[in-house]
């Protein structure tokens, strides 16, 4: 069965510092992978997604993620964080139900705090 693990519940980073959020997945086939961000009190917004091809994916707001098949990982990175990046980040993997319908399963999220 598919699953997504985000091992870090909460990360604190200084403004201007680099950031890496970890994501590991378990899925039998070649996965479609996603990162979503949720600002406080809001819904989720797509940051980036990986389907195939180049393993380094660029997203919105200066984020990027690298797919590593050998490590079953899809870590999110940003070279220099801004105070507005404080939010909760969710990694997700696409899968197909027994009825052939496509869905997402999400990790438990990583809350990012930015300190001045």
């Amino acid at each position: 069965a598919q699953s997504v693990t985000q091992p870090d519940i909460h990360i604190t980073v200084s403004e201007g510092a680099s950031l890496e959020l970890r994501c590991n997945y378990s899925y039998g086939a070649t996965p479609y992978l996603f990162w979503y961000v949720q600002s406080p009190g809001q819904g989720l917004q797509l940051l980036l997604k990986y389907f195939s091809g180049d393993t380094l994916v660029q997203g919105i707001k200066g984020f990027e993620a690298e797919f590593k098949r050998s490590q079953s990982s899809f870590n999110l990175r940003k070279p220099s964080v801004h105070w507005s990046d404080a939010a909760e980040y969710f990694c997700a993997v696409d899968y197909w139900s027994d009825f052939g319908n496509e869905k997402l399963t999400f990790g438990t999220g990583t809350r990012l705090t930015i300190i001045p």
Binding site: L44, F90, D94, E102, L104, T108
Partner: protein, 114 residues
């Protein structure tokens, strides 16, 4: 811009009440979803609809039902609300054609059952 609108942002209901959460999308998406979000548990899929009047159970359907009579509207129903259904509920939608379509989320409905 895609818009997924959840009609109620904050609700307080009593135990045993029937609760309706409504969601409307304006992008002619075939797929619509209801997720529940709880701290430390992430998002869990309750129900999913891939066409009008068509539905599929997600990971935690117990205690919930859904209705999709029109393509743009997907309702989540709590037949008899209980305190353990206090949570944030997120509606989402996406196209069905092809794979890996972006899922668009509403802003969420905070439900408190007392």
């Amino acid at each position: 811009d895609v818009k997924v609108t959840q009609s109620s942002r904050y609700l307080v209901k009593r135990t045993g009440e029937k609760v309706f959460l409504e969601c409307v999308q304006d992008m002619d998406h075939e797929n619509m979803f209801w997720y529940r979000q709880d701290p430390g548990l992430g998002l869990r899929l309750i129900y999913f609809s891939y066409d009008v009047k068509m539905k599929e159970k997600g990971d935690i359907p117990e205690g919930y039902s859904v209705s999709r009579e029109k393509k743009e509207r997907f309702s989540l129903i709590l037949e008899s609300a209980s305190t353990n259904q206090t949570s944030m509920y997120l509606c989402a939608s996406s196209f069905r054609q092809y794979s890996g379509n972006t899922i668009y989320f509403g802003e969420g409905s905070w439900l408190t059952v007392v």
